[in-house]
Symmetry: C2
Subunit: 337 residues, 2 copies
Amino acid sequence: MKQSKKGRVTLQQVAKHAGVSTSTASLIVRNNPRISEATRKKVLKSMHELGYVYDRIAANLRSQSSDTVGIIITDISNTFFSEFLIGVHDALDEVGYTVLLGTTFDSVAKQDHLLSTMMEHRVGGLILCPVSESSQDTIERLNEIDTPMVLAVRELPGVKSDYVGIDYPEGARIAVDHLLGKGHKRIALLGGIKESSTWIERMAGYREALSRAGLEVDESLVIDSAPTREGGLEAVLKVLENPNPPTAIFCFSDLIAFGVMQGLMMKGITPGKDMDIVGFDNVPVAEIYHPPLTTISSFPRRIGKEAANLLYQQMEKIEREQQRIILNPELIIRESS
Amino acid sequence: MKQSKKGRVTLQQVAKHAGVSTSTASLIVRNNPRISEATRKKVLKSMHELGYVYDRIAANLRSQSSDTVGIIITDISNTFFSEFLIGVHDALDEVGYTVLLGTTFDSVAKQDHLLSTMMEHRVGGLILCPVSESSQDTIERLNEIDTPMVLAVRELPGVKSDYVGIDYPEGARIAVDHLLGKGHKRIALLGGIKESSTWIERMAGYREALSRAGLEVDESLVIDSAPTREGGLEAVLKVLENPNPPTAIFCFSDLIAFGVMQGLMMKGITPGKDMDIVGFDNVPVAEIYHPPLTTISSFPRRIGKEAANLLYQQMEKIEREQQRIILNPELIIRESS
DNA sequence: CTGAAAGCGCTTACAG
DNA sequence: CTGAAAGCGCTTACAG
């Protein structure tokens, strides 16, 4: 697990070679302006000749600082998180931080381990997208960490820290409002696991949008399923057996929506024409699907950017209250409704 | 750009608290077995009480070693790379390395900068997916780096290092063979930028498969385009104007294939029935598209895994020849042909 | 099995 | 503007 390095050229050697003191050389690598142009050039030349590479690790150790930030996400293969990562990177690159990345695959054990690793690596800050069932232990532990930290995507009750997330109920609300606006009265909610917080929040928005329109939830139009395309397919087949079937469908996710549309086509029903569909997530394919899917975007890239900004403020000790940023999702209208 | 940390508990303090010497404490954190169970427990208890966090940075500095590896990719949002990353992570997590991640967005300048950053951070090893037009400078520089390194996905002429990549011509060959096997004689090659190495390699495979079958390339069936869905749409529309149109289409990528299929449907031609289609990449959507797309998979996850393994061998100084692993792509048959 | 001392490559005061 | 010395938090020989 270790790899040793052979003789690295040190700042001292550079200083000696250039005929200056180590302190002078140190000031030069740190771009301190109070060094004469002449000596600076001389030293730079020596560095080049000797093939000197600055040792940030040693520098950080001595100066008790860090220029790395740790990012812990649950799944890289999920488009949402890769977009999130891009947002974080964009913001962080600008200010010169280096990213230490960890993936938990939604395992508490991995998350605990990564937390330790990051702390042991003296990260200057941490952005954590918690696993779905973080333990009470983890929560206590997070509160003990005195490194700047921001939670993203999933909030952890009891953890005192900045948070950036999305208003899922609002997303569901605007999706259903859109369908309501098209004159639909029987709108199904298809797919997703009823126990998950994400489902519960969508359900809340769905219920609220209907109730505002003076409509009641018809439980026979709410069918849960695995959060997959197959799940969507099964759910739509089931709802179509309803003696009084829906005229529009709000899907738990885009993936579900793809399955739903497949099921509709199998039954000779054309999505976007015979049946209005809204998805959730705005995965990149939603746009190129056939038909292009109307859906809710939660702007993962922006979440990443905001999280990075909050972290940056903490790391630079910019004084402010603890923040909680909840982004509003947006409806992206395409051809499926 | 820096963040200072307040009083960290040190090993020395732990040792003092536990009433042992620092060396003993050091041996304990490194799980050295020649410490008595009794003192180990005592020290562990002190560590817990004081809230000690091991400082890997300091340890690495002193022992002249590193437990981090740098990974430089060109684009996180590209599924290929996120899958690649998963492969790398999987292999590396097992052996306890921590990942430093950088994204170049295909910019030489960013790549150069990241290379510096990683070296300055004393990474123990480096996996590099080079940008498409690395300069001669970069190549020389890479040859000067004495840190373990493996190149992945794109080979760099003149760089002496392990390499893991894919046999693109072979991928094109099996795609075209598949179509040939279904009795097609007029097979189009649609989409992609003619100047790119990826296109040239696909073209080579296409040409070879046809020539083996005793067929010549009909240039009017080879239409390039932007590597997007729109590009595929334009290309197929163009090829359909051919007085002697193709009966099957090999697409530069899955994205192109989606555009092609869209174009076909616009013309009332059903992909998989009236026209056989093969894509390239096997992006996750290929499977759930309508119709599910027959395509070529290049197993990005496996490439990542192999790259990590090669790097690991170098880092552990396992003696062997320089390696060049070229993975064979595979045909994934679904409904589009 | 344990202890005292030196050193990894930097930066930090502090004198000059 | 430059130099000599101490120290960041560890590990590494080397004695005991």
